[in-house]
Amino acid sequence: MTREELKSYVEGHFDGKLKSLDTGRYDPIFEIQPSDLITVAKALRDDESLKMDFLCNLGAVDTCEKLEVVYSVASTTKNLRLDFKFSLPYDNPEVDSIKEVWPGIDWYEREIWELYGINVRNHGNLKQFLLPDDWDQGNPMRKDWDAPDFIRMPEV
């Protein structure tokens, strides 16, 4: 399946829940609704021609107006890759845990919870992960984050 075939296949199936974004990058990227997350994840994993059985990465992006959560998945048998993402409000962002679909996402979800302050519903093990044990300064990957010894790059 080529890149274009994959794009049209994913858009044509799954009840139109994945909308393709034309970003020019090689791996196609789709936008979904946060409420559809578990349904979409299960559908991508169980689809006979995609078989997205491997979760490569889960990342978050702070765009200063909203937070974006990006899931990168791959198929080890069909040699396919795709990303899907959605936006969350800046205040009290919440996502559903998809540990039941790809159990390997556990640590990634802890990471975005800790670094971006995105609460993960039904995760069950959200606790201190990467930051120092005595950390009490909030979520450092947020763009508005600040600390006494944090030095921002001066504008050039």
Partner: protein
Amino acid sequence: MGLIKKLPVYSEKIPGGGLVTTSVETVLHFSQACSLWYLLFGTACCAIELMCTGASRYDFDRLGMIFRASPRQSDLIIAAGTITKKMAPRLRKLYDQMAEPRYVIAMGGCTIKGGPFYYDSYAVEKGIDHIVPVDIYIPGCPPRPESLLEGCIHLQEKIKKQKLSDWQEK
């Protein structure tokens, strides 16, 4: 006193050796400087240069420097690489476990002032000199093995020059 200090230098030139008198201080510091065993403490890319310096092309051994995996056998800690805020207490702990006299070389920009992580980083310690006392700073990102060798030679000179009373006060 001046002659006694210089005696080891002259005696090296005496063929066949002979009876040499010198001060305990000179002999002690000479032997210390010539057998600096360093603790392996490579935390980032500077460690690659450190390994290269330890390998046959640059040959750290000729300075009497042999790597040790235990702080209890080391005289010197070469902090090679970025020290994060999580790593800082471990560096201090390893330094405390070393027997005196002990020396620290800060290798690379990260250990001097945070290096490329000075701006916009929540995780990197901006310089190790407020965690452990540093004897020699080697700038570079990462420094070449030649720089590291020169830094070590400077440290040896520093050790040879010091007085017994210096490291008792430390």
